[in-house]
Amino acid sequence: MNELPAGAAKLRFDGERLSLDGDGRMFQVDARCLGDDPVAGAYAHVCALADLDAALEYDHPEVQQVRRDALAWWIPLLGDSLVCLTTLALDEARYGGAIAVTTEPAPWDSDPFARIFPGTLLRSDLFSAVAPPAGPVVERYAGVAWPGGSF
């Protein structure tokens, strides 16, 4: 993971903490989520594992379906509280999880991404507000972590 595609940024997760440059497994996220105006003390539901083997193809039907579910009802359910949402890419093909960030507690048990990898709830100062994807596109743009990137 040396060369990042345009629109991607690095984020690390060690199973308990998120960081930009600390220890832990490295993921690619939608770079807009790590913008210049982070929300202090936001709730970050990290549906990922630090285990390097925890990965699926982005094209796996269930990984496609959770993105559909995010567009259909998860994003509306989070409402005004949603700060940003990004999937976690491992490379140009593999999915390692997702993060939903909110300003208030949310019904995390309903997080569709937790169907793939279980969620860990953290407080974080890393994430900036990004308008959620307008849909209906669930495919990725140039290999960037959905919903980021463009052509």
Binding site: L71, A72, P76, G79, D80, A131, P132, P136, E139, F151
Partner: protein, 167 residues
Amino acid sequence: MSVRPEAGGRLPDIELPDHTGRRRKLSDVAAGDPLALLFSRGWWCPKEQRHLREMVAFQDELEVAYARLAVISVDPPEVQAAFRAGLGARFIFLSDAERQWVEQLDLLEETDTIHHPYRPTAMVLTPELEIHRVYDGYWYLGRPSREDLRRDLREVSALIRDDFERS
């Protein structure tokens, strides 16, 4: 002054709240992709219900086609959210409950004096909001079918994607 949008023209970068209440600009909704934009009467109209079910069937193609679909109606965001959920839609609804744009765009349906809705109109746009084609859907059969939109979005994709066809 109102200006009715026509093919070859450009739509203003309309900014309205979406079905969750967030303000969105049309250019951000397009996000670099071709956009099918449907001006819709509202949830109460059986023709809208039928046509939007057709669009819900179409979204399964658009989700992998790098093309966008959006609806503008005079329903408030919370009504749109319920209607969208009932349809099973995964595309965005924009609310012009304040009738901010309906007259500017000369799209007021004058025969409905109760709801003052949009005259059903579909437009296929480039990412820069240039109007590629317009459909007047006052009569149901004037609205675009999936095949119409597939053709239009293919044409716009060919215009904006350098690698759409192998040279």
